[in-house]
């Protein structure tokens, strides 16, 4: 084992799965499996003895589950990455695992290549969720933002820009606008073209549509 190899500890109650994963993982250059556990009981001793970089754990295990194991590992070794791989991607379980500090959650059915991708991602200090799990988590997260709207392009308009937009949308000519805003016609032209650029409008008609859409003027 070389010093820069990624050391992995496997936790799963299925011996043939552990053995197969060990073979598949160690066949990849740069990875080594430093230990195996079939339940939460043996995990902490193995973690202390083998100092893995990453613990790959099933969620449903006899005794302590993967979430509890994650909490225990991270309370003592906060730098270790814990990656869950499970046949159960129920949202509540995934959220519990994320709250416990898990670095990733992979659906077992998605296969070994995705598991390896997840290992690379979490070792690169990112979070990894299988796509279907990520979708469920994001949908759940977005529920708490019901009624919230994304920031609008024109949200940053100044009072004078807003007034200019109202006057343009009202069909006033540059000379009239200059009079109302006590500006020169040249300045109005400059502000107007700057406003069009800012709002990504190509014509006065688009400015009007924008102003109506954003309730800056009444249709």
């Amino acid at each position: 084992m070389s010093a820069d190899e990624i050391k992995i500890l496997l936790v799963d109650d299925h011996p043939v799965l552990r053995q197969g994963l060990r073979q598949l993982i160690t066949a990849r250059p740069g990875f080594t499996v430093v230990g195996e556990a079939d339940s939460g009981r043996a995990v902490m001793d193995l973690v202390r003895a083998t100092a893995p970089h990453l613990v790959l754990t099933d969620i449903h295990l006899p005794g302590e589950n993967g979430v509890e194991i994650t909490r225990r590992i991270l309370s003592e070794f906060p730098l270790i990455k814990v990656l869950a791989f499970s046949g159960d991607s129920e949202l509540e379980l995934v959220l519990q695992a994320l709250h416990a500090g898990i670095s990733g959650y992979v659906a077992k059915k998605n296969g070994f290549e995705e598991l390896m991708r997840a290992i690379y991602v979490v070792m690169d200090f990112h979070l990894y969720l299988s796509p279907e799990i990520a979708s469920a988590v994001i949908r759940d997260f977005m529920k708490s933002y019901r009624g919230w709207k994304p920031a609008r392009i024109g949200a940053g308009l100044s009072e004078r820009e807003r007034l200019l937009l109202q006057l343009v949308a009202a069909g006033k000519r540059n000379k009239e606008i200059a009079g109302e805003m006590t500006l020169t016609v040249k300045s109005v032209e400059t502000y107007r073209s700057r406003l069009m650029k800012k709002l990504r409008c190509a014509s006065a008609a688009e400015l009007v549509r924008y102003a109506i859409r954003e309730d800056i003027i009444q249709a």
């Binding site: 043939v16 053995q19 046949g87 059915k109 296969g111």
Partner: protein
């Protein structure tokens, strides 16, 4: 070298199992459900079918019963896991519809190879 048709929709588990079996000297064909397995099964080349029971499209139980009907001599090992009572009941049912052997998950490499050895003629040394 005996060819085993491995049928499982859990791709990670299937990859792990395939790795163990290939290291033990078997050749593997893989299918993700019963329908794909029926398409791949060839009695001239496949020595044994190792199948999960709960799968999409066509379940293992259906696969076992169809294989048994169409190819009475086929050797089949059924495997299943999850909630203990469920797995036991399902595996018992698999026996009734035609599985020669059953393996309850989790199982070890030794248990797996023993079941396969029972279903296959001895490998040439």
């Amino acid at each position: 070298m005996p060819l085993i048709l491995l049928v499982d929709d859990d791709d990670c588990f299937a990859a792990a199992l395939a790795s163990v079996l290939e290291q033990a000297g078997y050749k593997l064909l893989r299918a993700g459900d019963g329908k794909a397995a029926l398409r791949l099964y060839d009695p001239q080349t496949v020595s044994l079918v190792l199948t999960d029971l709960v799968m999409p499209e066509m379940e293992g139980m259906d696969l076992i019963s169809r294989l048994r009907q169409q190819h009475p001599d086929v050797k089949i090992i059924a495997m299943s896991g999850g909630e203990i009572n469920f797995a036991k009941t399902y595996l018992r049912a698999a026996r009734l519809v035609g599985a020669d052997y059953i393996l309850e998950k989790p199982f070890s490499k030794a248990q797996l190879l023993m079941a396969i050895h029972q279903g296959l003629p001895p490998m040439p040394v």
